[in-house]
Symmetry: C2
Subunit: 213 residues, 2 copies
Protein backbone atom coordinates (compact mmCIF):
# COMPACT_ATOMS: atom_id res chain seq x y z
CA UNK A 1 0.00 0.00 0.00
CA UNK A 2 3.00 2.27 0.41
CA UNK A 3 3.45 1.99 -3.35
CA UNK A 4 0.67 4.49 -3.99
CA UNK A 5 2.58 7.28 -2.31
CA UNK A 6 3.14 10.63 -3.98
CA UNK A 7 6.42 11.31 -5.72
CA UNK A 8 9.36 13.11 -4.15
CA UNK A 9 10.42 16.57 -5.19
CA UNK A 10 14.21 16.59 -5.56
CA UNK A 11 16.33 19.67 -5.95
CA UNK A 12 19.83 19.20 -7.31
CA UNK A 13 22.29 22.08 -7.09
CA UNK A 14 26.05 22.30 -7.26
CA UNK A 15 29.01 24.27 -8.53
CA UNK A 16 29.32 24.86 -12.27
CA UNK A 17 31.65 22.06 -13.34
CA UNK A 18 30.46 19.61 -10.67
CA UNK A 19 28.94 17.41 -13.38
CA UNK A 20 25.23 17.81 -12.60
CA UNK A 21 24.16 17.45 -16.24
CA UNK A 22 25.85 14.08 -16.71
CA UNK A 23 24.41 12.82 -13.44
CA UNK A 24 20.87 13.86 -14.39
CA UNK A 25 21.14 12.07 -17.74
CA UNK A 26 22.42 8.97 -15.95
CA UNK A 27 19.48 9.02 -13.52
CA UNK A 28 16.89 9.45 -16.27
CA UNK A 29 18.48 6.71 -18.37
CA UNK A 30 18.73 4.14 -15.57
CA UNK A 31 15.41 4.62 -13.78
CA UNK A 32 11.96 5.32 -15.09
CA UNK A 33 10.47 6.90 -11.98
CA UNK A 34 12.11 10.27 -12.58
CA UNK A 35 10.75 13.30 -14.37
CA UNK A 36 13.06 16.23 -15.06
CA UNK A 37 11.42 19.59 -14.71
CA UNK A 38 12.03 22.03 -17.56
CA UNK A 39 12.65 25.62 -16.48
CA UNK A 40 11.02 28.67 -18.02
CA UNK A 41 13.19 31.59 -19.06
CA UNK A 42 12.98 34.98 -20.74
CA UNK A 43 16.48 34.74 -22.20
CA UNK A 44 16.91 34.19 -25.94
CA UNK A 45 17.32 30.56 -27.08
CA UNK A 46 20.91 29.70 -28.00
CA UNK A 47 21.80 27.77 -31.14
CA UNK A 48 20.24 24.33 -31.04
CA UNK A 49 18.07 24.92 -27.96
CA UNK A 50 14.48 23.75 -28.41
CA UNK A 51 11.41 25.19 -26.70
CA UNK A 52 10.13 22.71 -24.11
CA UNK A 53 13.35 20.68 -24.08
CA UNK A 54 16.21 22.77 -22.67
CA UNK A 55 13.81 25.53 -21.55
CA UNK A 56 10.35 26.90 -22.07
CA UNK A 57 11.11 30.22 -23.74
CA UNK A 58 8.78 33.00 -22.72
CA UNK A 59 8.30 36.74 -23.07
CA UNK A 60 8.90 38.96 -20.08
CA UNK A 61 5.22 39.78 -20.00
CA UNK A 62 4.10 36.14 -19.91
CA UNK A 63 6.70 35.35 -17.25
CA UNK A 64 5.47 38.16 -15.01
CA UNK A 65 1.91 36.98 -15.52
CA UNK A 66 3.02 33.50 -14.32
CA UNK A 67 4.60 35.08 -11.24
CA UNK A 68 1.44 37.04 -10.50
CA UNK A 69 -0.80 33.97 -10.68
CA UNK A 70 1.59 31.92 -8.47
CA UNK A 71 2.32 29.65 -11.42
CA UNK A 72 6.00 29.23 -10.54
CA UNK A 73 7.32 27.33 -7.52
CA UNK A 74 10.55 29.33 -7.63
CA UNK A 75 12.10 31.99 -9.81
CA UNK A 76 15.03 34.35 -9.89
CA UNK A 77 16.51 37.00 -12.14
CA UNK A 78 20.09 36.63 -13.43
CA UNK A 79 21.76 39.15 -15.73
CA UNK A 80 18.44 40.72 -16.62
CA UNK A 81 16.69 37.44 -17.48
CA UNK A 82 14.11 35.53 -15.50
CA UNK A 83 14.43 31.80 -14.79
CA UNK A 84 11.75 29.79 -13.00
CA UNK A 85 10.04 26.43 -12.47
CA UNK A 86 6.43 26.11 -13.70
CA UNK A 87 4.22 24.69 -10.96
CA UNK A 88 1.76 22.73 -13.09
CA UNK A 89 4.12 20.10 -14.51
CA UNK A 90 5.78 19.50 -11.14
CA UNK A 91 2.52 18.97 -9.24
CA UNK A 92 1.03 16.80 -11.96
CA UNK A 93 4.07 14.48 -11.99
CA UNK A 94 4.24 14.29 -8.19
CA UNK A 95 0.57 13.32 -7.99
CA UNK A 96 1.09 10.58 -10.55
CA UNK A 97 3.78 9.15 -8.23
CA UNK A 98 6.87 10.14 -10.17
CA UNK A 99 9.84 11.78 -8.50
CA UNK A 100 10.51 15.19 -10.01
CA UNK A 101 14.05 16.53 -10.27
CA UNK A 102 14.75 20.25 -10.45
CA UNK A 103 18.27 21.25 -11.38
CA UNK A 104 18.32 24.79 -10.02
CA UNK A 105 20.46 27.37 -8.24
CA UNK A 106 20.80 27.76 -4.48
CA UNK A 107 18.43 30.71 -4.23
CA UNK A 108 15.64 28.76 -5.98
CA UNK A 109 16.40 25.65 -3.92
CA UNK A 110 15.52 27.39 -0.67
CA UNK A 111 12.37 28.89 -2.19
CA UNK A 112 11.26 25.36 -3.10
CA UNK A 113 12.02 24.04 0.40
CA UNK A 114 9.81 26.74 1.89
CA UNK A 115 6.85 25.81 -0.31
CA UNK A 116 7.50 22.04 -0.24
CA UNK A 117 9.05 21.17 3.13
CA UNK A 118 9.16 17.51 2.09
CA UNK A 119 11.45 18.34 -0.86
CA UNK A 120 14.90 16.76 -0.77
CA UNK A 121 17.78 19.16 -1.41
CA UNK A 122 20.94 17.55 -2.81
CA UNK A 123 24.18 19.42 -3.34
CA UNK A 124 26.69 17.95 -5.78
CA UNK A 125 30.34 18.74 -5.26
CA UNK A 126 33.58 17.55 -6.83
CA UNK A 127 36.01 15.84 -4.42
CA UNK A 128 37.87 19.12 -3.91
CA UNK A 129 38.40 22.66 -5.15
CA UNK A 130 41.57 21.82 -7.08
CA UNK A 131 39.63 19.14 -8.95
CA UNK A 132 36.85 21.65 -9.72
CA UNK A 133 39.37 24.05 -11.23
CA UNK A 134 40.98 21.20 -13.19
CA UNK A 135 37.58 20.29 -14.68
CA UNK A 136 36.76 23.88 -15.62
CA UNK A 137 40.17 24.34 -17.23
CA UNK A 138 39.92 20.91 -18.88
CA UNK A 139 36.78 21.88 -20.78
CA UNK A 140 39.03 24.15 -22.81
CA UNK A 141 36.09 26.35 -23.78
CA UNK A 142 36.44 29.13 -21.23
CA UNK A 143 38.89 31.95 -20.71
CA UNK A 144 40.82 32.10 -17.45
CA UNK A 145 38.77 35.13 -16.54
CA UNK A 146 35.52 33.14 -16.78
CA UNK A 147 37.10 30.26 -14.83
CA UNK A 148 38.18 32.65 -12.08
CA UNK A 149 34.67 34.09 -11.92
CA UNK A 150 33.22 30.57 -11.60
CA UNK A 151 35.67 29.72 -8.83
CA UNK A 152 34.71 32.86 -6.91
CA UNK A 153 31.06 32.03 -7.36
CA UNK A 154 31.71 28.47 -6.13
CA UNK A 155 33.39 29.90 -3.02
CA UNK A 156 30.23 31.94 -2.35
CA UNK A 157 27.92 29.00 -3.02
CA UNK A 158 29.95 26.79 -0.67
CA UNK A 159 28.70 28.94 2.21
CA UNK A 160 25.26 27.36 1.73
CA UNK A 161 26.26 23.72 1.14
CA UNK A 162 25.61 22.91 4.77
CA UNK A 163 21.96 23.95 4.48
CA UNK A 164 21.21 21.24 1.94
CA UNK A 165 19.73 17.95 3.13
CA UNK A 166 22.43 15.89 1.45
CA UNK A 167 25.90 16.42 0.12
CA UNK A 168 27.08 14.10 -2.64
CA UNK A 169 30.63 13.93 -3.98
CA UNK A 170 30.91 13.43 -7.73
CA UNK A 171 34.08 11.43 -8.05
CA UNK A 172 32.63 8.96 -10.54
CA UNK A 173 29.34 10.04 -12.16
CA UNK A 174 27.83 6.53 -12.14
CA UNK A 175 28.44 6.05 -8.42
CA UNK A 176 27.19 9.55 -7.77
CA UNK A 177 23.95 9.03 -9.71
CA UNK A 178 23.42 5.74 -7.87
CA UNK A 179 23.94 7.49 -4.55
CA UNK A 180 21.39 10.19 -5.41
CA UNK A 181 18.96 7.49 -6.48
CA UNK A 182 19.31 5.80 -3.09
CA UNK A 183 18.84 9.05 -1.23
CA UNK A 184 15.60 9.66 -3.13
CA UNK A 185 14.38 6.11 -2.52
CA UNK A 186 15.13 6.44 1.19
CA UNK A 187 13.20 9.71 1.25
CA UNK A 188 10.09 7.89 0.10
CA UNK A 189 10.05 6.27 3.50
CA UNK A 190 9.57 9.54 5.34
CA UNK A 191 6.25 9.73 7.20
CA UNK A 192 5.21 12.80 5.19
CA UNK A 193 5.15 10.64 2.05
CA UNK A 194 3.07 7.93 3.72
CA UNK A 195 0.30 9.74 5.53
CA UNK A 196 -2.39 7.55 4.01
CA UNK A 197 -0.66 4.38 5.20
CA UNK A 198 -0.24 5.79 8.72
CA UNK A 199 -3.91 6.75 8.99
CA UNK A 200 -5.00 3.35 7.71
CA UNK A 201 -2.89 1.30 10.10
CA UNK A 202 -3.87 3.51 13.04
CA UNK A 203 -7.57 2.98 12.34
CA UNK A 204 -7.07 -0.73 11.73
CA UNK A 205 -5.11 -1.17 14.98
CA UNK A 206 -7.78 0.62 16.94
CA UNK A 207 -10.48 -1.60 15.49
CA UNK A 208 -8.54 -4.84 16.03
CA UNK A 209 -7.33 -4.02 19.53
CA UNK A 210 -10.90 -3.53 20.69
CA UNK A 211 -11.41 -7.18 19.88
CA UNK A 212 -13.84 -6.43 17.03
CA UNK A 213 -12.14 -9.03 14.96
CA UNK B 1 37.87 12.40 2.33
CA UNK B 2 34.22 11.82 3.21
CA UNK B 3 35.23 8.33 4.25
CA UNK B 4 36.57 9.53 7.58
CA UNK B 5 33.16 10.67 8.74
CA UNK B 6 31.73 9.65 12.10
CA UNK B 7 29.25 6.81 12.30
CA UNK B 8 25.48 7.24 12.31
CA UNK B 9 23.37 6.60 15.38
CA UNK B 10 20.32 4.61 14.31
CA UNK B 11 17.29 3.96 16.46
CA UNK B 12 15.00 1.13 15.43
CA UNK B 13 11.59 0.85 17.06
CA UNK B 14 8.41 -0.92 16.10
CA UNK B 15 5.44 -2.92 17.32
CA UNK B 16 6.11 -6.19 19.13
CA UNK B 17 5.74 -8.75 16.36
CA UNK B 18 7.00 -6.42 13.62
CA UNK B 19 10.12 -8.57 13.22
CA UNK B 20 12.79 -6.15 14.48
CA UNK B 21 15.01 -8.92 15.88
CA UNK B 22 15.25 -10.79 12.59
CA UNK B 23 15.98 -7.59 10.71
CA UNK B 24 18.76 -6.63 13.14
CA UNK B 25 20.41 -10.04 12.74
CA UNK B 26 20.17 -9.71 8.96
CA UNK B 27 21.83 -6.27 9.03
CA UNK B 28 24.68 -7.42 11.28
CA UNK B 29 25.25 -10.54 9.18
CA UNK B 30 25.29 -8.76 5.82
CA UNK B 31 27.28 -5.63 6.62
CA UNK B 32 30.28 -5.06 8.85
CA UNK B 33 29.82 -1.38 9.53
CA UNK B 34 27.13 -1.91 12.15
CA UNK B 35 27.49 -2.23 15.91
CA UNK B 36 24.46 -3.22 17.96
CA UNK B 37 24.21 -1.47 21.29
CA UNK B 38 23.51 -3.72 24.29
CA UNK B 39 21.03 -2.29 26.80
CA UNK B 40 21.53 -2.25 30.55
CA UNK B 41 18.73 -3.49 32.77
CA UNK B 42 17.91 -4.13 36.41
CA UNK B 43 15.58 -7.01 35.64
CA UNK B 44 16.63 -10.57 36.42
CA UNK B 45 18.26 -12.54 33.58
CA UNK B 46 15.95 -15.14 32.04
CA UNK B 47 17.08 -18.66 31.23
CA UNK B 48 19.89 -18.61 28.71
CA UNK B 49 20.47 -14.84 28.78
CA UNK B 50 24.14 -13.88 29.10
CA UNK B 51 25.50 -10.72 30.69
CA UNK B 52 26.86 -8.43 27.97
CA UNK B 53 25.08 -10.27 25.15
CA UNK B 54 21.31 -9.87 25.52
CA UNK B 55 21.71 -7.25 28.26
CA UNK B 56 24.15 -5.86 30.75
CA UNK B 57 22.56 -6.93 34.03
CA UNK B 58 22.94 -4.42 36.79
CA UNK B 59 21.80 -3.72 40.34
CA UNK B 60 19.33 -0.90 40.95
CA UNK B 61 22.02 0.96 42.82
CA UNK B 62 24.56 0.78 39.97
CA UNK B 63 21.90 1.76 37.44
CA UNK B 64 20.96 4.86 39.44
CA UNK B 65 24.65 5.76 39.75
CA UNK B 66 24.88 5.56 35.93
CA UNK B 67 21.88 7.88 35.61
CA UNK B 68 23.41 10.35 38.07
CA UNK B 69 26.73 10.53 36.19
CA UNK B 70 24.94 10.95 32.81
CA UNK B 71 26.28 7.58 31.71
CA UNK B 72 23.10 6.62 29.81
CA UNK B 73 21.90 8.25 26.62
CA UNK B 74 18.33 7.16 27.34
CA UNK B 75 16.54 5.13 29.98
CA UNK B 76 13.05 4.26 31.13
CA UNK B 77 11.34 2.21 33.80
CA UNK B 78 8.93 -0.58 32.80
CA UNK B 79 7.13 -2.79 35.31
CA UNK B 80 9.49 -1.74 38.10
CA UNK B 81 12.69 -2.42 36.13
CA UNK B 82 15.08 0.03 34.56
CA UNK B 83 16.26 -0.28 30.95
CA UNK B 84 18.83 2.04 29.40
CA UNK B 85 21.59 2.55 26.83
CA UNK B 86 25.14 3.01 28.17
CA UNK B 87 26.75 6.07 26.62
CA UNK B 88 30.37 4.92 26.52
CA UNK B 89 30.01 2.06 24.01
CA UNK B 90 27.82 4.12 21.67
CA UNK B 91 30.18 7.11 21.54
CA UNK B 92 33.27 4.96 21.17
CA UNK B 93 31.78 3.09 18.18
CA UNK B 94 30.51 6.27 16.51
CA UNK B 95 33.95 7.87 16.77
CA UNK B 96 35.56 4.82 15.19
CA UNK B 97 33.22 5.34 12.21
CA UNK B 98 30.80 2.48 12.82
CA UNK B 99 27.05 2.97 12.66
CA UNK B 100 25.44 2.08 15.97
CA UNK B 101 21.97 0.57 16.09
CA UNK B 102 19.78 0.89 19.17
CA UNK B 103 16.67 -1.27 19.25
CA UNK B 104 14.62 0.64 21.80
CA UNK B 105 11.12 1.80 22.68
CA UNK B 106 9.49 5.00 21.48
CA UNK B 107 10.06 6.90 24.73
CA UNK B 108 13.81 6.20 24.59
CA UNK B 109 13.92 6.98 20.86
CA UNK B 110 12.85 10.57 21.42
CA UNK B 111 15.29 10.98 24.32
CA UNK B 112 18.08 9.92 21.94
CA UNK B 113 16.93 12.35 19.24
CA UNK B 114 17.10 15.20 21.74
CA UNK B 115 20.69 14.41 22.70
CA UNK B 116 21.80 13.37 19.19
CA UNK B 117 19.83 15.44 16.67
CA UNK B 118 21.70 13.68 13.85
CA UNK B 119 20.34 10.28 14.94
CA UNK B 120 18.14 8.50 12.43
CA UNK B 121 14.86 7.17 13.82
CA UNK B 122 13.40 4.21 11.94
CA UNK B 123 10.01 2.70 12.73
CA UNK B 124 9.36 -0.86 11.55
CA UNK B 125 5.78 -1.85 10.87
CA UNK B 126 4.10 -4.90 9.36
CA UNK B 127 2.08 -4.25 6.19
CA UNK B 128 -1.11 -3.94 8.26
CA UNK B 129 -2.75 -4.48 11.63
CA UNK B 130 -4.40 -7.76 10.60
CA UNK B 131 -0.99 -9.09 9.60
CA UNK B 132 0.46 -7.99 12.96
CA UNK B 133 -2.24 -9.91 14.81
CA UNK B 134 -1.69 -12.94 12.56
CA UNK B 135 2.03 -12.90 13.41
CA UNK B 136 1.42 -12.59 17.14
CA UNK B 137 -1.12 -15.43 17.07
CA UNK B 138 1.14 -17.47 14.78
CA UNK B 139 3.94 -17.50 17.34
CA UNK B 140 1.74 -19.82 19.35
CA UNK B 141 3.49 -18.88 22.58
CA UNK B 142 1.16 -16.21 23.91
CA UNK B 143 -2.32 -16.26 25.40
CA UNK B 144 -5.04 -14.26 23.66
CA UNK B 145 -4.97 -11.90 26.63
CA UNK B 146 -1.32 -11.09 26.02
CA UNK B 147 -1.97 -10.71 22.29
CA UNK B 148 -4.81 -8.28 22.96
CA UNK B 149 -2.57 -6.27 25.28
CA UNK B 150 0.12 -6.10 22.57
CA UNK B 151 -2.44 -4.97 20.00
CA UNK B 152 -3.65 -2.20 22.31
CA UNK B 153 -0.08 -1.16 22.93
CA UNK B 154 0.57 -1.13 19.16
CA UNK B 155 -2.46 1.13 18.70
CA UNK B 156 -0.94 3.55 21.25
CA UNK B 157 2.52 3.37 19.68
CA UNK B 158 1.06 4.04 16.23
CA UNK B 159 0.22 7.56 17.42
CA UNK B 160 3.96 8.33 17.35
CA UNK B 161 4.94 6.60 14.08
CA UNK B 162 4.68 9.89 12.23
CA UNK B 163 7.37 11.46 14.43
CA UNK B 164 10.02 9.01 13.26
CA UNK B 165 12.34 9.99 10.43
CA UNK B 166 11.55 6.89 8.40
CA UNK B 167 8.83 4.29 8.25
CA UNK B 168 9.75 0.88 6.90
CA UNK B 169 7.29 -1.89 6.10
CA UNK B 170 8.47 -5.37 6.99
CA UNK B 171 6.83 -7.51 4.36
CA UNK B 172 9.94 -9.54 3.63
CA UNK B 173 12.70 -9.27 6.23
CA UNK B 174 15.53 -9.33 3.68
CA UNK B 175 14.06 -6.47 1.65
CA UNK B 176 13.33 -4.60 4.84
CA UNK B 177 16.89 -4.96 6.17
CA UNK B 178 18.23 -3.82 2.79
CA UNK B 179 15.95 -0.79 2.89
CA UNK B 180 17.13 0.17 6.38
CA UNK B 181 20.72 -0.25 5.22
CA UNK B 182 20.11 2.17 2.37
CA UNK B 183 18.45 4.69 4.64
CA UNK B 184 21.50 4.62 6.92
CA UNK B 185 23.91 4.94 3.99
CA UNK B 186 21.96 7.91 2.63
CA UNK B 187 22.08 9.53 6.07
CA UNK B 188 25.87 9.52 5.93
CA UNK B 189 25.55 12.16 3.23
CA UNK B 190 23.90 14.67 5.54
CA UNK B 191 25.99 17.80 6.05
CA UNK B 192 26.14 17.19 9.81
CA UNK B 193 28.16 14.03 9.14
CA UNK B 194 30.56 15.83 6.81
CA UNK B 195 31.50 19.03 8.57
CA UNK B 196 35.20 18.45 8.09
CA UNK B 197 34.78 18.03 4.32
CA UNK B 198 32.68 21.20 4.10
CA UNK B 199 35.22 23.28 5.99
CA UNK B 200 38.06 21.93 3.86
CA UNK B 201 36.45 22.64 0.51
CA UNK B 202 35.33 26.10 1.63
CA UNK B 203 38.88 27.02 2.61
CA UNK B 204 40.33 25.49 -0.55
CA UNK B 205 37.83 27.35 -2.78
CA UNK B 206 38.64 30.64 -1.10
CA UNK B 207 42.37 30.08 -1.64
CA UNK B 208 41.99 29.01 -5.27
CA UNK B 209 39.51 31.71 -6.27
CA UNK B 210 41.90 34.38 -5.13
CA UNK B 211 44.26 33.12 -7.78
CA UNK B 212 46.83 31.88 -5.23
CA UNK B 213 47.23 28.74 -7.21
Amino acid sequence: MMKHSKGILVVVSGFAGAGKGTIMRQLLENYDNYALSVSMTTRQPRQGERDGVEYFFSSREDFEKKIAEDGLIEYAEYCGNYYGTPRHYVEQQLLSGRDVILEIEIQGAFQVKKKFPEAVLVFVTPPGAAELKRRLVGRGTETMEVIDRRMRRAAEEAEHMGDYDYLVVNDDFRTCAEEIHRIIQASRRKPGCNEEFIEEIKAELKALSKGDN
